[in-house]
Each structure stands twice: as structure tokens, then as C-alpha cells.
Symmetry: C2
Subunit: 257 residues, 2 copies
């Protein structure tokens, strides 16, 4: 069973004809977690829910005026910065319930681009409305800052990965991190579909595609995972965690499933 298909089912069950924050099954992961019902309704009125974004389309482009932040409802996006020289660096992958575009707060334009990895629907939070709401709902401000804090923490963990870990360690870490994120969304931690290409993974992890490809093969030979194209199954979670240098996850491997 594919992760993508399941997210769609998951969401479908949460809406009648229209989607609302109060009935969205992602609300416990998304922004509204700390908000009461009345605040949730206020927020809900401000959210734009447009047509789906097709694979390859941009949600916003580096340099565009910073006018909104987005919550992923279904699908997945990648965010990336482009250097003056034209090189691209993928800074993250975002799944359902995650917020995209927060780094826009640093200036008046987005410092990165966001592109859909598959057909994706989003909740758009227009900045002007959000600004007003932030002053009205203290819980919303805190939640937003918490999200920004988490992004800083993520990026700093990534700096450690890029500067201190071997190629094997990076890929192991990447797979387990994704696995955990799927699990928190109610999907299998063992088996999931990678919505990004090998090129995207290698760019994100600071490696050559060939290296990533070789490690996938190697991980299969040593029976840590199996793959079938973009479908990945974790066989030996414990050993994979050991490789990733993550003792916490390792314990969870034995506990869960």
C-alpha cells in the first residue's frame, strides 16, 4: 500500500463537501493544535483552499513577494534555494500538515522556492490576514514561532548531517526520519513510497546520485531494506538506526510494530 494513496483516503474521510479546520483530521499536527474552537473558526475563515497543484508546479518562487504561508493538506513538496551560480540546494521535503514558507518572514520576498512532488492541495494563509490574527490570538503566534523554531532545529540537524556524517549514515538517517514522519501521520513506518526522485534525495543529502543509488543497492544486499522503485520497506529498523547514529529510534524499533 502506498503512502500517497493513504493520505488521500485519510483526508477524504475528514470532509463532507467542504473542508474545515475543525473537521480536518490533520488538525492535531497542523497549526490549530493549541487553539480553541472559537479561535479555530476565526482562523478557518481566513484560509484559502484553491485548486490542487500539479506535480512540478511551484507553490511560490524564490524572489516572489512574501504574501502567504501554506499548510500542506495532501501530497508533498520540496523546498530549495538557488545560488547566484544557478546551483540548487533542496532544503527540505514537506508532507501533509506541515507549514511551508515561514522563512519568508526574514524579508519581503521568499528566500526559496517550493515545488510540488506530486499532486498537492494546500491551505493558503494570506499574510495580511494572518498578521491581524496573530495579534488577536496569542496561541496562534506561539504556534507559528514554535514552527519556525522547529525549522531552525531541523536545518541545524541537517548541517550536522552534511558536515559530519558519511553517505551511508545520511541515507539511513533520511529514511528513518521519513519513516517516523509517516508513522506520526497514521501510516506504516515500515513501508512507504518516496515521492521524491533519487536526484532530489542526493541533492538534499549533499551526495552524487550514483552514490545514493549504490547505497540503496548496498542496503538491500545487507538486508536493511527492500525497494521496488520508489517503494521502500524497512526490514532491519534496529540496525538501520544504529547506522544512522540514533539510539532513540533504535529503541522504538523493537517497541513498535
Amino acid at each position: 500500500m502506498s503512502g500517497e494513496q493513504n493520505i488521500v483516503d485519510f483526508i477524504a474521510s475528514s470532509r463532507g463537501n467542504k473542508t474545515h479546520c475543525s473537521t480536518c483530521s490533520l488538525s492535531s499536527l497542523c497549526l490549530p493544535i493549541a487553539l480553541n474552537n472559537s479561535d479555530l473558526d476565526t482562523l478557518d475563515k481566513v484560509i484559502k483552499r484553491g485548486r490542487p497543484i500539479q506535480k512540478g508546479e511551484l507553490l511560490f518562487k524564490q524572489g516572489d513577494p512574501f504574501h502567504a504561508i501554506y499548510a500542506i493538506r495532501t501530497g508533498a513538496v520540496k523546498t530549495f534555494t538557488v545560488a547566484p551560480s544557478g546551483e540548487e540546494q533542496i532544503t527540505g521535503f514537506n508532507l501533509a500538515s506541515e507549514l511551508v514558507g515561514l522563512s519568508g518572514y526574514s524579508q519581503d520576498t521568499y528566500p526559496l522556492s517550493a515545488k510540488a512532488l506530486e499532486t498537492t492541495t494546500v491551505c493558503e494563509l494570506p499574510l495580511d490576514k494572518l498578521e491581524v490574527l496573530c495579534d488577536e490570538i496569542p496561541g496562534l503566534r506561539k504556534q507559528l514561532m514554535k514552527n519556525m523554531g522547529s525549522e531552525i532545529r531541523h536545518d541545524q540537524q541537517m548541517m550536522l548531517q552534511l558536515s559530519k556524517r558519511s553517505a551511508d549514515e545520511r541515507l539511513a538517517h533520511f529514511l528513518l526520519e521519513l519513516s517516523g514522519r509517516f508513522e506520526r501521520r497514521g501510516f506504516s513506518a515500515k513501508s512507504f513510497r518516496l515521492s521524491m526522485s533519487r536526484v532530489d534525495i542526493s541533492n538534499y543529502l549533499g551526495l552524487a546520485v550514483e552514490t545514493v543509488s549504490r547505497i540503496f543497492t548496498r542496503f538491500q544486499k545487507s538486508e536493511l531494506i527492500t525497494t521496488e522503485g520508489k517503494e521502500v520497506t524497512v526490514i532491519n529498523c534496529s540496525e538501520l538506526s544504529e547506522l544512522a547514529g540514533n539510539p532513540t529510534i533504535k529503541e522504538e524499533c523493537n517497541a513498535a510494530h
Copy 2:
């Protein structure tokens, strides 16, 4: 003339007996930029200005309860995360006027440590008071979020450095970035003192110390810079910028000085 000495002079001129936000010469760089005088006073009342922190002392430690953010008044700090395996990754260096500890918003403990690189004085902004103030002064909230956004952008630029740039490019970029930050604080962009060790630089840039040492020597042989211990003078800013892959800085080289 050393950067450190000058920062001290700079600050000294801005205080009579007591330091206040309204008289601090860093205020145009620090938090209060967007605040009016009355708001500034409100903020000022909340700030704790303790004794100086000695070189090597921690401002806060990874895992400590998140209870305050800090503005550097004089001196410099490094922030770093420690992996479960014990490896350290320096995530940034902070100079006078910069805010430290913002990533604490991601949870209830600091996800990194901050250590003084030299004798350092800070303005402590206790979280409980800051929370109240954020709800009272909308400009303060915006300013804080802008600072967090800038940190995200910085870390993502760093990801690009670590994953795409050669050792030479990284060091060139590092030196020019520092140069620019000194200049914005009113010091020489050409000549400054590195408050961090070569080991710190190499850790931050994801390189071995030996590599950093060799590049310093190489940069001197090709007459891009001169060094005398921690003192650095940029001779050929233009070519250094070229190396760093930064066309914007390159133009500024010819304009300024």
C-alpha cells in the same frame, strides 16, 4: 586595530552609568529597530543585564529549560549542537547586536548550547516577560519572527555551502560574510580579528583543521589575504568574492573602501 577592542569602545560611548535600549548604539541593528520610544522603554524594563560571561563559559546548555533569549551586547559566542554520539556541530557565530536562543521556541528546552568566544556581555530577555510583551507590542512580535526567519535563511545557505561548495569556496565565503558583518557594525571590512579558533572554523565549515590551515596559507600565497594569528586582512576582496561565488559582494568590493 582589533575588532574586539573597537566593539568595547563603541559600546562604552553609548552608556553613561547604565545601559538602556534607547541609548544603545546597537539599537539600529538589534531588536528595537521597529519600535517607538514608548515601546522601547517597555522592552527596556524587562531586560536583565548581568555580569560579563568569561571566555569558555556557557550562556545556556543544550537541554536546559528554555527561559530566555539573549542579545549580544559586546563580545561573541558560538552556538553548537551535540549529537547523541558526542560529535559537536557549530551552527553559528554571533556578534554584538545579534539574538541567540531563538530556536528554543521549538520545544521547552534549548536544542543547542551557546559558549562565549571571548569576554561577552548580553541583554537577557526572560521568556515569560517577552511573551507578555509580544502580545502588547505587535512590532516586537514581527521583529522576533523576522529574526527567526533570518536564522532559517542563514542555516539554509549553510546547507548549500556544506553540500555544494569546495573547501576553498567555503572559507572564502566565511571570511567575506564575517567581513560584511563587521562592516555593518561600523568596523573595518578589510581588517578584523577572528574570535574563533581554526578548529571552530573547520568544525563550522565541515572541514578538517588541517585543510583550513592549508587554505589560509594558500590564500596568503595567492595574495588574497594576509594573516597574523587571528588577525585577518583582506587584500583582494574582488577575487575572494569571485572564489566565494558571490557576485553581489564582488561589486561592493570596488565600490567601498
